[in-house]
C-alpha cells in the first residue's frame, strides 16, 4: 500500500470514530428542538425543529421536582459547586499527601501509600451505606459539605502526584535547602509551579468525576434545593408522565444537551495544559 492509501484509510477510520461520538449527540440535540408529540409519533429526529427556544427556556426556568421548587438552573449551580469543590479539594489534598509520602521519610510512608492506593479498590458505591451513616451522624445531609467531603480523598491523584514528585531531581531540593527554603516553601515555590500542568490535568479529571456523580447526591439529598444535574435530570420532569400527560421527551433531550456543556467548557479551557500535563513535564 502506498502512503496515500494509508492516509486515506486512516482518515476513514478517524472519521468513523468521530461520527460514532458525534451522531448520538446530534440526534439528542436535533430531537431537543422538536415538540414532544413529534418525537413520540415519529421517533428521534435527525433534522432541526422549531421549538429550540421554547424547550430550552422551559428546561432552564420551569420549576420541577415534587415540591415544584427546583429549577434546572439551580441544579447547574449545585453541580458546579459540587464538582468544583471536589476537584479543588482533591487536588490540594492529594498533592499534599503525595508530598508527605515522597519527601518526608517517616517509617510508615510506604505502607501508608499502599493503604491509600488500596482505596482504589473500594469505590464509593461499595461503601455508600457507611459513608451515608457517617455523613448523617455529622448532620451533613442536605449540605454542600456533605456532597463534597466523602469524595475528596483520591488515590489516583495521590498516585500521579507521587510519581511526579519522585521524578523531581533531589538536587533541586538540596539547592532550595541551601537557599533557605523550608519544607512549606519548597512545596509552594517549587513543587506547585512545577506540577501546574499536572494540577490542571488532575483538576479536569476530578471535575468531570465530581460532575458526573449520580448515586451519592441521590442518596445524600432529600431536600430538592441540593439536587444536582446528573441525578436531577431523571427526576425533574417525571411527574407529568405519571399524571397521564405526554412524557416530556424533548425537554429531557434539551436538559441532556445542557448538562454536557460545563464539563466541555472545563476541558476546552484547560485542554492545552491538560495535554501538556499528560505528555510532558516542565523540567
Amino acid at each position: 500500500m502506498n502512503n496515500k492509501t494509508v492516509q486515506f484509510l486512516s482518515h476513514i477510520i478517524l472519521i468513523l470514530g468521530v461520527l460514532l461520538m458525534v451522531v448520538p449527540i446530534w440526534i439528542a440535540f436535533a430531537s431537543s428542538t422538536h415538540e414532544n408529540v413529534t418525537i413520540l409519533k415519529e421517533g428521534m429526529q435527525w433534522g432541526l425543529g422549531d421549538q429550540l427556544v421554547r424547550n430550552y427556556n422551559e428546561v432552564l426556568n420551569q420549576k420541577g421536582g415534587f415540591s415544584q421548587e427546583i429549577t434546572a438552573t439551580r441544579m447547574f449551580i449545585n453541580s458546579f459547586i459540587m464538582a468544583f469543590g471536589i476537584a479543588s479539594v482533591k487536588v490540594i489534598i492529594s498533592s499534599m499527601s503525595a508530598y508527605a509520602i515522597v519527601y518526608f521519610r517517616f517509617k510508615l510512608a510506604v505502607p501508608l501509600f499502599w493503604l491509600i492506593f488500596i482505596t482504589l479498590l473500594v469505590p464509593l458505591e461499595v461503601r455508600i451505606l457507611p459513608s451515608y451513616q457517617v455523613v448523617s451522624d455529622l448532620n451533613l445531609t442536605n449540605s454542600y459539605t456533605g456532597l463534597i467531603l466523602p469524595l475528596v480523598a483520591s488515590a489516583t491523584a495521590t498516585f500521579f502526584f507521587r510519581q511526579f514528585y519522585k521524578s523531581v531531581p533531589d538536587e533541586l531540593l538540596e539547592a532550595a535547602k541551601l537557599d533557605g527554603a523550608n519544607s512549606w516553601k519548597f512545596f509552594i515555590d517549587f513543587l506547585v509551579p512545577l506540577s501546574k500542568t499536572m494540577i490542571a490535568a488532575m483538576f479536569i479529571f476530578m471535575f468531570v468525576y465530581g460532575y458526573s456523580q449520580y448515586l451519592w447526591p441521590l442518596i445524600m439529598t432529600s431536600d430538592e434545593k441540593y439536587w444536582t444535574v446528573v441525578m436531577g435530570m431523571k427526576i425533574i420532569f417525571q411527574e407529568s408522565y405519571e399524571g397521564g400527560n405526554l412524557p416530556r421527551v424533548a425537554e429531557r433531550f434539551a436538559f441532556i444537551i445542557l448538562s454536557m456543556i460545563p464539563p466541555i467548557l472545563v476541558v476546552v479551557f484547560l485542554q492545552r495544559w491538560f495535554i501538556k500535563g499528560l505528555i510532558q513535564t516542565e523540567k
Binding site: E174, A175, K177, L178, A181
Partner: protein, 350 residues
C-alpha cells in the same frame, strides 16, 4: 586554627555502609581544596556534610571558629554548585539568583543591586529574563556559579560542576573558576574525579579512597611523591607503570629485568612504580619492550608494550614517534624518579 576544620568525621549510612572513616582536614582561608578520587570513594559525601545536606555520624565540622554540625544548611554560609546545576526550571535567571536572598529577607533594592552585579561579573546580564531551559550548557553553568556567588558565602562547594560540559568548554570554565576564586579569595572545596581538573585547580589536593584521605598535598607533591600505590595509579595520565619484584642488596629484580637502585630498603616484596615520561629509549636499556599499541596525540606519543615477562608497560615519547607496532625496543629508567610501594599495604617505601 584553620578556617574550615573537619575533625574526625565519620559517616555511616543507615544501611551500615561506612562512607567516610575518621577523616580530619584543615582548610585555610582563601584556599582552593580539591577532593579527588574514584566514584564511590566518599568525596561527595564529605562535601555534602560540609554543606549540611548529609548528617554527620561522628566528628565535628568547624567553620570560621564555629561548630556547624547542627546548623541548618541555609545558615551555614556555604554555597554549592551542583553537578547538574540544579537550577530552578520554572524560574528565570533573575529569580534563580535572587531566590536565596529573598528567603533571607533582604530588601528588594539590595537584591536587585546584588543580582545585577553578579550578572555583570559572569556576563549573563542579557539572560536574566530567560528560563534555564533556554540557556546553553555553559550559560547554565554560569548561572549556577552566580547563584553561589550572589550569596557572598564563606565557602564555595563545587560538586563535579564541570562534568556535564563538553571537553572544550570544560577547559574554559575551569580557567574561569580558578580566576574567579582567586579574585574573590573565597575558600573553596571542589570535588572531582578528573585528575586534570584536580591538578590544575587545587592549591592542595586530598586524594580520597574508600572513605579515607590517602594523601594530602599540593598537586606537584602528590604527583611526584605519591604516598601510596593507589595515589600513583590515580594521578597522572597515562597511568603509572607498576612492576612487582623483590629488592635485595640495592638491586630490584622482577621477572624480566634487574635494576640497580640506591635504597636502604631490604624488604622482600615491593611494587616498583614509574611514570611513562621517566623512560627513555636506550640501546643498552634494562627493559625490553614489544610494542602493542601506539597512540599518537600530536604533541607526544604513548607507546604501550609488554616486557619479557608479559607485564604491560607504557612509555611516552615527545612528538610523533617513528616506532612501529611489533617492534622490540630497549628502554632505560630514570632511577631517581622511581616509586617503591609495599606490595601488601601499598604504602610508599622510598
Amino acid at each position: 586554627m584553620s578556617f574550615l576544620e573537619l575533625k574526625k568525621i565519620t559517616k555511616v549510612y543507615p544501611n551500615g555502609t561506612k562512607a567516610i572513616n575518621e577523616t580530619s582536614l584543615n582548610i585555610e582561608h582563601g584556599e582552593f581544596m580539591v577532593f579527588v578520587g574514584p566514584s564511590g570513594c566518599g568525596k561527595s559525601t564529605l562535601l555534602r556534610m560540609i554543606a549540611g545536606l548529609e548528617d554527620i555520624t561522628e566528628g565535628e565540622i568547624d567553620l570560621d571558629g564555629k561548630t556547624i554540625n547542627k546548623i541548618d544548611p541555609s545558615e551555614r554560609d556555604v554555597a554549592m554548585v551542583f553537578q547538574n546545576y540544579a537550577l530552578y526550571p520554572h524560574m528565570n535567571v533573575y529569580k534563580n539568583l535572587s531566590y536565596g536572598l529573598k528567603n533571607r529577607g533582604e530588601s528588594k533594592e539590595k537584591i536587585n543591586n546584588k543580582v545585577k552585579e553578579v550578572a555583570e561579573l559572569l556576563e549573563i546580564k542579557e539572560y536574566l529574563q530567560r528560563k534555564p531551559a533556554q540557556l546553553s550548557g555553559g550559560q547554565r553553568q554560569r548561572v549556577a556559579m552566580g547563584r553561589a556567588i550572589v550569596r557572598n558565602p564563606k565557602v564555595f562547594l563545587f560538586d563535579e560542576p564541570l562534568s556535564n560540559l563538553d571537553a572544550k568548554l570544560r577547559g574554559q570554565v575551569r580557567i574561569e573558576i580558578k580566576k574567579l576564586q582567586q579574585s574573590m579569595n573565597v575558600t573553596s572545596v571542589f570535588v572531582t574525579h578528573d585528575q586534570v581538573e584536580a591538578m590544575t585547580l587545587g592549591d592542595r589536593l586530598a586524594v580520597i579512597n574508600n572513605g579515607v584521605i590517602e594523601q594530602l598535598g599540593t598537586p606537584i607533591e602528590v604527583y611526584e611523591k605519591p604516598a601510596s600505590k593507589f595515589v600513583g595509579e590515580f594521578i597522572g595520565s597515562p597511568q603509572m607503570n607498576f612492576v612487582n619484584g623483590t629488592i635485595k642488596n640495592n638491586i630490584f629484580e622482577s621477572k624480566s629485568f634487574k635494576l640497580n637502585i640506591d635504597s636502604k630498603i631490604n624488604s622482600a616484596n615491593v611494587v616498583l612504580g614509574f611514570r611513562a615520561e621517566d623512560l627513555n629509549l636506550n640501546e643498552e636499556g634494562d627493559i625490553s619492550l614489544t610494542i602493542d599499541i601506539i597512540e599518537k596525540l600530536g604533541s607526544d606519543s604513548i607507546i604501550y608494550g609488554k616486557d619479557k615477562a608479559g607485564e604491560s608497560i607504557c612509555y611516552k615519547e615527545n612528538g610523533n614517534t617513528k616506532l612501529n607496532i611489533g617492534e622490540i625496543i630497549n628502554i632505560s629508567l630514570d632511577v631517581s624518579k622511581i616509586h617503591l610501594f609495599d606490595e601488601k599495604t601499598g604504602k610508599r617505601l622510598n
